[in-house]
């Protein structure tokens, strides 16, 4: 995949492109303005994309066929075709092989932290995101956000120009004005200058800001992330007296206790963590062991779903629980336990024993949404269990300038209200929408003379600023960022900015008065400095800022790794290597020795008052699919069914079944598309701190009683065509003093209902052995527990002889045990296979198009059920029921056992879907594919047909990848190697739960998995002989704890 020559070449390529497109880059105003910019855009792109135009013309072909029935009647496809054009390069970059994709290593900064990526590019069009195996945060996998980010690049709603009070201005004009303002500030040493960013790990950016802060001593730099990690940060500070970042090593952990932490699916390291964690949970005959996971949590999370013991409790009770465990571990804790936790006492005792039994091989991890004290307790437990240095290591903060962001923001608001802020530069972020409601950021903002907002969209904040500068997407930018473990990645652009966006570096360069530096120059220059003399002496002497006061200029080049030695073979080689690998060598942060301070200093109990009867706890969480709202306009993410509720396009108030009963709250399937689609939910009124919000509810099994979870990020007003006016803005209830949870919520059932689009409203498996599960004990006694007589096709009586599949026989094994339901596979599939988005209405009609879905079932009591995730793609049955009933041979079987779907032969009787017991077939009820918006066409995968209206489609095992690999292999006169073909879903999967390969090859990974005792075929007793099989789920409960 990433042969060096390609990637080394790629760097030139990218530089080449940036330079080449400079001329098209500086546009005149009239071109920027008006509808014409679209066409300009396409013109500009022709240079990148040779085949785009005709590829798109061809799409009209099917429609054309319909027109010319008579001729088609006799000669099938040979109606006269419209003339198509080939638009070659003028000067073709030598690394580009037309028709072959290139892969470039880069990284996606998410809330500051880097996710290392390899991006597939077709003739200059980035089309697909993959993980970078060399990157510590990715290991070749991705989360759903990075998978989906590629259509963010092509989003037609992205801001395309610089604006002044909503009117288009040129970058030049902006600079003039901007520099004027800056020179004013120079006089006052920047007393009126404020910079507001999100969390920053980018060494270059940090260095730039540092430079600015030295030039403007009185200026201040504030950081704010709505879903920030203040509590974790403060936790370490209270525990160790200094900001440090914990790194967890689940690969060494036999017992894990999560205190409301969703370490599998949330946070900068989650993709890596989930891999490490799940590697210890693949029991087979040779090694029938697995780690054990205890989760005490409020809102059900994917981590909780995989727990062997899950203790649901209100968020406020987690501290009490933690204290109870710590007490059993004999730790003497700071502060008196807020409200002592009384339930599960035996369980807690057993849990403590279990932890003690695994000193040095256990992990206690606290959630970002828990108060600092819980983190402190977690750290203390780890210390007393001797985990620190073994399963938990600490490093200097990855953030360039760690600070208590809420306090930092509050201080900014105070300054603004005081009128001391004259020039405010907001880099990214959308504080007007996301800032805590009690700070009343908008009104404070209005007191600032000049406000500049640099962002991807003209959003709520832009609307309240004088200047708006269109930001460049990270796939268009030169930059750098650090992973959760400190490793640095250089971010290189895949394509010249589509909409003449600017990077943060260019903004800062302008601020430091040399605007014509390109971000490429800046990043490269910075790293040149970092070598040899340019560098600095390590971040160990990290300047820490006490809460409440924004950072004074950092003493040195911030907290990045120490100065790099001069590379042996020169900087250019180093630079190329870093770009090619996607990681900068030896930048992983070194471990830092820490010690718990005297426990009495270390933090105090977060004194959350107990819950008054009749009142509720309100819990805030970032939305699982659009995060803090920044992805609101990303249609892929909007249409992802959220892991538990399976709701798309909306957010709801999550309540426990008991609570729902108390208020007679109901969710009923609608007459049309109910259960799989349209659910009609009651609306409730949330009344908190005198602020009220009306919201639909979702009854969520496993959610603790008397507690209500709301996800923030929805309810955007300026979120673009896709993102605006979807869901409900819960930021309106979120305050700065209780950003994550608080008591004192009152609710009232209203006499309204609201229609939700939920793709799976049915909770129970109805006693069908679709997901087969056992405990580790049962597994050890009977490893074949998942097998069943009926499943074995060879035994089943069958009228016909079976076909033989010599040569390749493709098959897939999916390990339900390691699936964490994170949805990465779903988005990956959507990106790879040009799967259209259908919108809320169509989802409500049960017409979503995802080729792979993640089924969620509950078992056990609804108060604290077991949750099962089961990814369901096409099973590629050898005796496929769908094929038998197709009247036109549109779905057939290939010589390698793939259940092929030939779209252009399909007439759309939908009989195959009826006859598919797995219901994995998807139908284009309307013309879902977007043939009209030029820019979104650029994302389409040229190796996959874009489906027209009226045809069936489904998972193909990514046959385009299979064919590509086979052709490559045949040209080299060899057979395809195991692992050479990876379907999009398998490639994205963080835990490698999906494995694909040749089941005729006894040594292939998939064959080995299918040989495992846990392997079974779903509904195989129908004698469908599925090629996709599952590895049954095994949980490892503590035998000492009897599940109540």
């Amino acid at each position: 995949m990433n042969q060096p020559h390609q990637l080394s070449g790629s760097t030139n390529g990218c530089e080449g492109e940036t330079h080449k497109t400079k001329k098209t880059f500086w546009r005149t105003l009239e071109e920027l303005a008006g509808s014409e910019s679209q066409t300009n855009l396409v013109k500009r792109l022709e240079q990148h994309a040779v085949m785009i135009e005709n590829a798109l013309d061809r799409r009209d072909f099917i429609k054309l066929m319909s027109a010319s029935l008579a001729l088609a009647g006799i000669t099938g496809c040979s109606v006269q075709q419209p003339t198509e054009h080939i638009v070659p390069y003028v000067r073709q970059p030598e690394e580009i092989v037309l028709g072959k994709p290139l892969f470039y290593a880069t990284a996606m900064p998410m809330a500051g932290y880097a996710m290392g990526l390899l991006v597939e590019s077709h003739e200059g069009r980035p089309t697909k995101i993959e993980g970078n195996p060399a990157h510590p945060a990715s290991l070749g996998a991705t989360d759903l956000f990075s998978q989906a980010s590629v259509i963010g690049l092509y989003d037609p709603d992205r801001s395309q120009t610089t604006m002044y009070l909503g009117e288009i201005r040129s970058w030049g004009v902006f600079l003039e004005e901007f520099l004027k303002d800056i020179s004013k500030q120079r006089a006052s040493q920047g007393a009126g200058l404020r910079i507001l960013t999100g969390s920053v790990t980018s060494p270059t950016l940090a260095d730039q800001i540092k430079g600015i802060l030295t030039a403007f001593p009185k200026a201040k730099w504030h950081q704010y992330e709505p879903a920030g990690r203040d509590t974790a940060r403060e936790g370490t500070k209270q525990a160790f007296g200094d900001y440090v970042d914990p790194i967890y090593h689940f690969e060494n952990a036999d017992v894990v206790l999560s205190l409301d932490s969703d370490f599998l699916c949330a946070g900068p390291g989650s993709v890596r963590y989930s891999r490490d964690f799940m590697n210890k949970r693949r029991p087979d005959v040779s090694n029938p062991n697995m780690s054990r996971l205890y989760v005490a949590e409020c809102t059900p999370t994917n981590t909780g779903a995989k727990a062997d013991h899950r203790f649901p409790m209100r968020a406020a009770q987690v501290e009490g629980f933690a204290r109870a465990v710590a007490y059993k571990l004999g730790i003497n804790l700071p502060g008196s336990g807020a409200t002592p936790y009384t339930d599960h006492s035996d369980a807690i005792a057993a849990l403590a024993r279990d932890l003690q039994a695994h000193r040095g091989s256990s992990v206690v991890i606290a959630g970002d949404y828990q108060p600092p004290i819980v983190h402190v307790i977690a750290h203390m437990m780890n210390e007393s269990l001797g985990n620190i240095g073994k399963t938990v290591r600490f490093i200097d903060p990855v953030e360039a300038n760690p600070t208590n962001q809420l306090e930092s923001l509050r201080q900014l608001v105070n300054d603004m209200n005081a009128g001391t802020v004259e020039l405010l530069v907001i880099l990214g972020g959308n504080p007007v929408f996301t800032a805590p409601i009690d700070l009343d950021f908008p009104s404070a903002l209005s007191k600032v003379q000049t406000r500049v907002h640099h962002s991807l969209y003209y959003d709520e904040t832009s609307a309240l600023c004088h200047w708006h500068v269109a930001a460049a997407h990270y796939l268009e930018s030169w930059s750098d960022a650090r992973a959760f473990d400190g490793t640095v990645s250089i971010i290189q652009p895949l394509i010249a900015p589509l909409y003449s966006g600017k990077t943060e570096h260019e903004m800062m360069a302008a601020l430091s008065n040399n605007p014509d530096q390109t971000s490429y120059d800046l990043v490269r220059k910075y790293w040149q400095q970092r070598h040899g003399t340019g560098g600095s002496t390590g971040g160990s002497s990290q300047t820490s800022t006490t809460p409440g006061q924004a950072s004074s200029p950092p003493s040195n080049t911030t907290g990045v790794a120490p100065a790099l030695p001069n590379p042996p073979d020169g900087f250019d080689q180093w630079w190329r290597k870093s770009l090619r690998d996607g990681v900068v060598a030896n930048t992983t942060a070194a471990e830092r020795a820490v010690a718990i301070r005297n426990s009495q200093q270390a933090g105090t109990a977060s004194n959350i008052p107990p819950l008054n009867p009749g009142e509720f706890e309100i819990v805030f969480r970032p939305d699982p699919s659009i995060f803090d709202g920044r992805f609101a306009n990303n249609a892929w993410l909007q249409e992802i069914p959220k892991p538990f509720t399976k709701i798309t396009w909306d957010n709801t108030a999550l309540i426990s079944p008991a609570t729902a009963q108390r208020f007679a709250i109901e969710i009923d399937p609608a007459r049309r598309g109910g259960e799989h689609g349209n659910m009609v939910s009651d609306v409730i009124e949330l009344n908190y701190q005198g602020r009220t919000l009306h919201m639909p509810v979702w009854i969520l099994p496993g959610h603790p009683d008397d507690s209500i979870t709301v996800h923030f990020g929805y309810g955007r007003i300026r979120g673009g065509d896709t993102g605006s006016f979807k869901g409900f803005n819960t930021y309106l209830l979120r305050t700065s003093f209780a950003p994550w949870f608080d008591v004192g919520l009152k609710i009232r059932k209203l006499d309204e209902t609201y229609e939700l689009a939920s793709t799976q409203a049915h909770h129970s498996m109805e006693n069908r052995d679709l997901v087969r599960a056992a405990t580790l004990g049962e597994f050890k006694q009977n490893p074949k527990f998942a097998k069943s007589e009926a499943d074995d096709p060879s035994k089943s009586k069958w009228l016909f002889p079976n076909w033989s599949y010599p040569g390749y026989a493709w098959g897939m094994a999916i390990d339900i045990n390691t699936c964490i339901g994170c949805n990465a596979c779903v988005v990956a599939c959507q990106a790879e296979n040009n799967i259209p988005v259908v919108g809320k209405i169509e989802v409500m009609h049960g017409r979503e198009m995802h080729w792979i879905r993640i089924d969620r079932y509950y078992s056990g009591d609804e108060h604290n059920p077991e949750t099962h995730f089961q990814p369901v793609p096409c099973m590629h049955c050898e005796d496929a029921p769908c094929e038998l009933v197709c009247p036109v041979e549109a779905t057939t079987h290939s010589s390698e056992g793939i259940n092929e779907m030939t779209y252009n032969r399909c007439v759309g009787t939908r009989y195959c879907s009826n006859n598919c017991p797995y219901k994995v077939r998807r139908f284009n009820f309307f013309r879902y594919a977007d043939y009209d918006t030029p820019v979104v066409k650029l994302q389409k995968n040229p190796d996959v047909t874009v489906r027209s209206r009226g045809v069936m489609e489904k998972c193909t095992y990514c046959v385009q990848r299979i064919n590509e690999a086979k052709i490559t292999a045949e040209e080299q006169d060899r057979t395809v190697r195991d692992g050479e073909i990876t379907p999009a879903c398998a490639q994205a999967c963080p835990t490698r739960a999906i494995v694909f390969g040749n089941i005729n090859d006894p040594n292939s990974n998939v064959t080995k998995l299918k040989a495992e005792p846990r392997n079974y075929g779903m509904l195989a007793d129908l004698n469908t002989r599925p090629r996709t099989t599952y590895l049954a789920e095994v949980r490892n409960p503590n035998p000492e704890i009897k599940t109540e």
Binding site: G76, S78, V90, E900, E971
Partner: protein
């Protein structure tokens, strides 16, 4: 009143019956003929191009190899269409002021690409890969005809599914030694049957069932 059909009506009746049958058959035949005619398939119809590029001149005249312009034909699905720069390799030296080449020079100067009219055209849902065919010993002329004799390029074959299937069901009859792939003059030897079989064997051509599986060409 009393009416009687004219005696001739008997003959008329019978004639119309059989005539009708003949006419229907005729219509079917016409539709089929039109459908397969070069008007519809555009076979052997030279396409107009922004620059009247002559393969005849460049290939048989100057003896350029196919791969000089179609660089990726051996490595990629797409044979490759030369960038303006490739034309200018020579035409910056020769015919530097020929009006015919004005568009090429303009393109080179302004950076605005030439827009060629596509000649060999498959529908969007059929995925053809040049490299594998080249590597398995399918010659250019087998599908594209004697391009070296085309002053203006035309489509040699209808490129309909049945035409593809002909070879995919029986590749042997078109296989040639790899070193002959780019040879425009190559003619099938008299013992092609045996030769083809040998080649198919040594080039590991897959069996018919594989070659005619839908997903071989459609995805």
């Amino acid at each position: 009143m009393h009416r009687v059909f004219h005696p001739s009506s008997n003959i008329i009746a019978r004639v119309t019956i059989f005539g009708g049958l003949i006419i229907i058959a005729g219509i079917c035949w016409v539709v089929y003929a039109v459908g397969t005619s070069s008007y519809v398939t555009e076979v052997a119809v030279p396409r107009s191009q922004p620059v009247p590029f002559s393969h005849q001149h460049h290939v048989s005249g100057l003896g350029l190899d196919c791969r000089y312009c179609h660089t990726t034909v051996e490595t990629s699905a797409f044979a490759g269409i030369p960038p303006t720069a490739t034309c200018m390799n020579c035409h910056s030296q020769i015919w530097t002021d020929s009006p015919m080449l004005q568009p090429v020079r303009d393109s080179y100067r302004t950076g605005v690409p030439l827009v060629w009219n596509r000649v060999n055209n498959l529908p969007q849902f059929a995925y053809f890969n040049h490299s594998i065919h080249i590597n398995k010993g399918v010659g250019c002329s087998t599908c594209h005809g004697r391009v070296d004799r085309m002053p203006l390029t035309w489509e040699e074959q209808p490129m309909e599914m049945q035409w593809c299937l002909e070879c995919h069901r029986n590749p042997n009859k078109v296989l040639r030694p790899r070193d002959q792939v780019f040879n425009m003059e190559w003619q099938a030897p008299t013992d092609q049957v045996t030769k083809g079989a040998e080649l198919a064997n040594s080039y590991h051509i897959r069996d018919t069932h594989y070659l005619t599986s839908c997903s071989t060409c459609h995805r």
